[in-house]
């Protein structure tokens, strides 16, 4: 969380002025206040709940505020199987989230259908919504989810735009 992106100013200002760019400050803020929208539909969601709860405590990494409204969140965590009946709902929730927004696809099922190669299951949500970070595993450990959130944070800090953004403004 360190302020590694700032300049310390000159001798005369005696450290009272710091210099940086607005993008870096904004990204620093975004990175450390990710508000996840949990979309748990199956067993992976149990691991996600464990990650959010006190033992693993995702809030240590600045993702304190879990939002159950897509309009207030900027990180979608898809954890679990998505059926063809559920996919339009997921797409709608993704569309409702304000930009910039990031997506984590948690577990084998969300990423590629897992073992459920059947008529009813979407074989990877990335066919319909852009995914920034995939987590392998069935189910992934809570540490894996924390790692994925950290990777999203790194991505934000580096100034890269989310996968879902098609137009990059210079």
């Amino acid at each position: 969380m360190g302020l590694d992106f700032v300049g310390r100013g000159t001798e005369e200002t005696d450290g009272n002025i710091i210099t940086t760019t607005i993008d870096k400050v904004v990204n620093w803020g975004r990175k450390n206040s990710l508000w996840p929208m949990p979309f748990g539909t199956a067993c992976c969601a149990i691991e996600m709940m464990a990650t959010l709860a006190s033992k693993f405590d995702l809030s240590r990494f600045g993702s304190e505020a879990i939002r159950f409204s897509p309009r207030q969140s900027d990180l979608l965590i898809v954890s679990g199987r998505i059926s063809i009946k559920m996919m339009p709902v997921l797409k709608r929730i993704y569309d409702q989230m304000p930009d910039p927004k990031w997506v984590i696809s948690m577990g084998a099922c969300a990423s590629c259908g897992g073992v459920f190669d059947t008529y009813t299951l979407i074989q990877g949500v990335d066919q319909f919504i852009p995914v920034d970070v995939y987590i392998p595993g069935c189910p992934p450990r809570p540490e894996d989810l924390i790692d994925a959130v950290l990777q999203v944070q790194q991505k934000i800090a580096s100034g890269a735009s989310p996968k879902g953004v098609e137009v990059v403004y210079e």
Partner: protein, 182 residues
């Protein structure tokens, strides 16, 4: 010969005795599996028998545990058994009074998928029959609201039929977001 191998003479279950006395014409076959009596009955008499099983004070199968179906189209021996009836609708009943289970099976031919709904007897049959309709295409006559329950409303086909491809007919790759979100 050890004692365990000696077959004990089981008393005939009450339900079989009573059905034999009252509905001998309805019964096609009977069996037992792990303490559960299984009876196969004629479709025309199915409603009457199920009503009797529920309302008879001695039997009192008041709890309908499940309604489902089996597609026998790829099991020649099963098919032939009941005059090539492709589907078998299965009712699982439980009697709190007698503390015993009963499985009632009704053969249903492919060219006549109608069967009377039992929602009038057990309200809980509503969603169970909707599921059976959704998955197998059995038409429950007299059901108050026979719509799909698991698959999307615009889904075509009945996925638990044996001739439905496991990976579907491409519905998982293409669907119309605009229409479904309307």
């Amino acid at each position: 010969m050890s004692e365990e191998n000696q077959v004990e003479e089981q008393p005939k279950p009450l339900v079989l005795e009573k059905l034999e006395a009252n509905y001998a014409d309805a019964r096609l076959a009977q069996d037992a599996s792990r303490g559960t009596v299984i009876i196969v009955i004629r479709k025309e008499r199915a409603y009457a028998v199920l009503e009797y099983l529920k309302t008879d004070p001695e039997l009192a199968y008041t709890f309908l545990v499940d309604v489902t179906a089996v597609d026998n189209s790829q099991m020649e021996s099963e098919l032939m058994q009941f005059d090539y009836a492709r589907f078998m609708v299965v009712y699982q009943l439980y009697s709190y009074q007698g503390q015993c289970r009963l499985r009632v099976k009704v053969p249903v031919h492919e060219n006549d998928l109608n069967i009377p709904s039992v929602t009038g007897l057990w309200k809980g049959a509503n969603w169970l029959e909707r599921e059976t309709y959704d998955m197998f295409g059995i038409n429950f006559e007299g059901h108050p609201d026979l719509r799909r329950i698991l698959m999307p409303d615009d889904f075509e086909g009945h996925p638990l039929r044996k001739d439905y491809p496991l990976r579907g007919r491409g519905e998982r790759e293409r669907f119309n977001f605009d229409k479904q979100n309307a």
